[in-house]
């Protein structure tokens, strides 16, 4: 919560921020509908340690739809330092009773609900020790499910790990005789082993396609039983990155089709390179404009796109006298590398536009 989106128009960014609150509400609703015993949040609830009161209040208010216990631990973004979001929230009295914020390592029993939580919250922004190590020797009353709740990187997993600090042994669930180990820190849903899962973030917030935007429903019948884990999509916006290269006219058709086929209310990043004639360029611009209306956000990168007017284009422009010379010069410049080519392309497009307008004026 409290995450801001860079590289987006202000209103898009606001909407995306808003989506995060909505997804919590949806989580709560899902939990209520599925009649779960508890919701576990494995850290990084808040994106930064110093947020406005409003954000804090909104976050905790969003928990309301599920009256059962919410069990939360601090992650590395919201570590339980001497002063943190949690202390702030406590001062604001924003934390509802059904939200259990576990700021210290330890065992918390929920005997009535039949489980005990072994929590390894982060009290520092980074640590190089395995904070779950003590799980191995921790005792819980028999008859209660042993559920671990931790935040960090499982060792020897993905090479592009989110954080290389806060390590967690990959066999912790086994060595600590846990029924289930709920992990946080990675944004995508990931199964480490049958008892160890990353649920990922409920609302995707990056273009990396790693199965974000889900929540996990975990069913364990009794202590020692194998958990049944069901991922459920809860996210609202899809994040899609497109890359199109245009050489011939048909390529443009394809690109436009792909553009139109995108699911609505997605977050789209589209890069178009290659070359196009003037008419095609206009079509492309129109299509992008239209798509922007359908999507939550659409960012187009056209720097690498060259505009090559055809003879027909030129004829239709009716560029006479020295203006024709100018167009020829610009076409030549487009062949160069780098910024020069882009500037030349832009100049050509502007010129073409103006000539067209001029012609339209004259025609009137």
């Amino acid at each position: 919560m409290g995450r801001t989106y860079r590289g987006f128009a202000a209103e898009d960014a606001a909407a995306l921020s808003d989506a995060r609150f909505k997804v919590v509400e949806r989580l709560a609703q899902l939990a209520t509908d599925e009649k779960v015993d508890a919701i576990l949040v494995a850290g990084d609830v808040f994106d930064a340690p110093n947020l406005s009161d409003r954000t804090i209040h909104r976050t905790f208010n969003a928990l309301a739809a599920f009256p059962g216990p919410w069990i939360l631990i601090p992650g590395n973004h919201d570590a339980a330092l001497a002063e943190s979001v949690w202390t702030q929230a406590a001062r604001l009295r924003a934390i509802p009773e059904n939200a259990h914020v576990l700021l210290k390592s330890g065992v918390t029993e929920f005997a009535k609900l039949g489980f005990a939580i072994l929590s390894a919250p982060l009290t520092q922004r980074q640590t190089h020790d395995d904070l779950t190590a003590w799980f191995d020797t921790a005792e819980t009353p028999s008859g209660l499910l042993r559920i671990g709740l931790a935040h960090g990187s499982v060792e020897d997993q993905l090479p592009e790990a989110a954080d290389s600090s806060n390590p967690i042994a990959s066999d912790r669930a086994e060595s600590a005789r846990l029924d289930y180990l709920a992990l946080g820190d990675w944004h995508g849903t990931k199964c480490i082993n049958v008892r160890t899962w990353y649920s990922g973030t409920p609302e995707q917030e990056r273009f990396k396609d790693n199965s974000a935007g889900q929540a996990l429903i975990v069913e364990i019948d009794h202590p020692g039983a194998e958990p049944k884990v069901t991922p459920r999509p809860v996210g609202h916006h899809r994040w899609i990155k497109l890359n199109q290269h245009l050489t011939v006219a048909s390529d443009l058709e394809q690109a436009l089709q792909a553009l139109n086929a995108l699911p609505v209310q997605s977050v789209v990043d589209i890069t178009v390179g290659g070359q196009l004639d003037l008419t095609g360029f206009e079509h492309l611009q129109q299509a992008l404009s239209a798509a922007t209306g359908r999507q939550r956000s659409l960012v187009a990168h056209l720097e690498a796109l060259r505009v090559e007017p055809t003879e027909d284009d030129l004829a239709s422009l009716q560029a006479d006298g020295y203006v024709g010379d100018v167009i020829a010069d610009l076409r030549e410049r487009q062949q160069a590398e780098g910024e020069q080519a882009e500037t030349a392309r832009n100049a050509l497009v502007i010129l073409a536009g103006m000539l067209r307008d001029h012609r339209a004026e004259v025609a009137k």
Partner: protein, 881 residues
Amino acid sequence: MRLDYLHLAEVKQFRRPLHLNNLTDGINLFVGPNESGKSTLVDAIRAAFFERYKSSSVNYLQPWGDSSGAPEVELAFDWQGERWVLNKRFLNRPRCDLKIGTELFSDTDAEDKLAELFGYQFAGKGASRPEVQGIPGLLWVQQGAIQEIRGPVGHAGDQLQSALGTSLGEVASSAGDELTDTLEKERGQWLTRTGKQTGDYKAAIDACEAGRSGLADLDAQIAAYRAQVDELGRLRKERETIDQAQPWRVERALVEEAQKHLEKVNGWRTEQQQDQATLKDRERSQKLFREQIQGFEAAAKQLAKREAARARAQEQVGDCEARQPRVDARLALANTVYASAKAGATQARQQAERVRLQAEYDALTAGLTISRKALEQARELQKKLARLREQHQANAIDEKALAKLKRYRSDLDKLAIRRESLATRVQFDLLPGKSLAIGDESVSGKGERLLLEATELAIPKVGTLRLQPGGTDIAALVREQEHAQAQHDGLLARLNIATLAEGEQRVTTSEDLTSQIELEAARLEGIAPEGVDALAVQCDLDDAQLKALSGKLVNLPEVVPDAADEATADAALGTAQTKLKAAEQAAADLNRDLAMANQAAATAREEWERLNNELESSEHKARTKNANDQLTNLNAEAASLLDAINARQQQIDAAQPDVLQQDIDRHTRSAEAMECAASERKQAIDRLEAKLETLGEQGLNEKRDTLQQEVDANERRRDELTRRTAALDLLLSLLKDKRQALTRQLQAPLQKHLDHYLNLLFPHASLTVDENLMPQMLTRQPTAGTGNGDVESLSYGTREQMGLISRLAYADLLREAGKPTLIILDDALVHSDAGRLAQMKRILFDAATRHQVLLFSCHPDNWRDLGVAARDLQTLKAAVV
């Protein structure tokens, strides 16, 4: 176009009409000295075209002093097969008539037609100005104006442009210019003329800047926040680990213990001090008593000493008394010896004396004899000398006077001779018995007389003859003679001599006497050098002396044969004297010693007695005893005190009070430090908690993220505008460049004409024109002149040449465009050197094949090789019809 003729009337100096006929194609050369009217002709042509006939600003055309003059100009030219004739009159009865072929035009119509043909305008009011003179303003060049190009070209600009004409319009009439305008407008939204960002663009950039610094601030704040959170965590941990235990209590306890201990030690110290004070007191008393005892002991010693002294003194007396007799004996002996020695010495002395005296007496006697003899002699001599001196004195004669006398004598002799010669000599030889009287004298017989004066000769019975000697001198001479004689005689008398011979004799005698005197005097001197009297005195003295001596001798005893000599006797006396002295001394010493010894003995005895009495008194004895007793007691006491003190000191040292004090200090400070740290920590924690609470409320992270979003948006906008303005700039520059290229292309004809002429002057050179057709830059090969430059910066001469070349090129251009081109050059190229002038003439000649040129100059020689005959203005004037 070809101007055919020009007629002037009542124009400046041309009161009577002037006709310029048969003007030809090509160059028409007019020469004439200054003030021959060349410029007037040019002015007339200019006025005919440029000035309205009704103009009142043409007074300068009137003949001088003639305000009623009506300048009139008539000219005719052929143009496109038709003859145009213009007739204009100014000021008085102004009029303007133009005949084109057979058509007639008048007044302003006529003037406008000409203006249209030639390409100029009329000034609104007043005289014509360069600004309206268009093409003729460019081609009809007045004196000193040829180097000026920019102005005239500017004023003829439109005409020139339209001559290049229809093609340039091409450039302007495409859509390009409109595009350029639109683009400029759009660019102007974001960039100023100089390329600085403005408007939205600038705003975006500024916002980015502001945003960035804002971000930096927020980052700093966030970092500070984080640091403070970390600090709070650290402090809390410290408080837990350190302060909970209250470690300062331990320290305080240690302090107390050490304090107690120290107090005990301090007690001991006080006791110690007391004891020491007492000890000091006792020691003082000890000292006093010891001193007392010492005093007593000293007194006893003193007594013993005195006893000894007394004994010694007594001994001393005895010694002296023992010595006495011997000393006395010695003294007596010495006296005796002395007496005898003395007698002996006296005797010896007397002997010696006698001998000496005797000798002296004998010598003196002998001397006296001699002296007496000498004295006698001297007396003799003295007498003789006196006599001689008397004689001399008597004989003496003043030799000077004698010399004078001698002179007188000779004078007299001379005078006599003169008289003789002067005087009248009367010789007579009388008959016996006859006499005559010569003067007073009566003479007879034979004789001679000298007559020095008038003399009467009385001849008895005959008469008298008066004889007057000749010469007045005679009288004077006689007088002189008498005077001299008188003198001579006087002197004789004074000298007391009868004659000079006598006088001389006396001198001789005197001399003899003198030598005699000298001789005798010398002899006397030898005998009695100091004088006779001295000698006499000496004799008397010696005599007296002799008497005394003899007296003395009588008193002295006779010589004793074997008496000792004086020296020995003296020696013996000396020895005896010494010995006597010694003996006396010894005696005296002894007396003294004895006296002293007695004295000392007496004193010693006294002292001893006194002291003895004292010491024997009972009082003294009692005191002595007391002192001893006291001292013994004190010693005992002091000893015991000292022991106590030492023992206690050891105790104190063992307790190490300094270390104790240090411990106290150390532990106190530690306790304080710990308490202080703990309290500070508490305060710091409180402060931080409060601060973080406040900061936390500010939602710094969210603020930062929001600001970041803004910055991103601004950056995107800025980049967008950068791209757009870059594209606009590119477009604009390309449009401008292409347009310019096209313009240049179209200007090519003018360029061609310029280069054509230029290359005749500077091979391989070129003169560029700007888009207003103004000559701009001259480019040459480095060897031909001074390189490249703006035409304005060339030398005066070169600028003249450029001026003419440009005008000729424009003329060619205008001709191609079908405009009339008459070229008038009034005294052009005055600053060109011979070399350049030669080239320029080639150029002119070439141009003249296309245009009619009226060339005026006051230097006919310069233009001789132009290929045309010069027309002399003066001749023309003279040939007025």
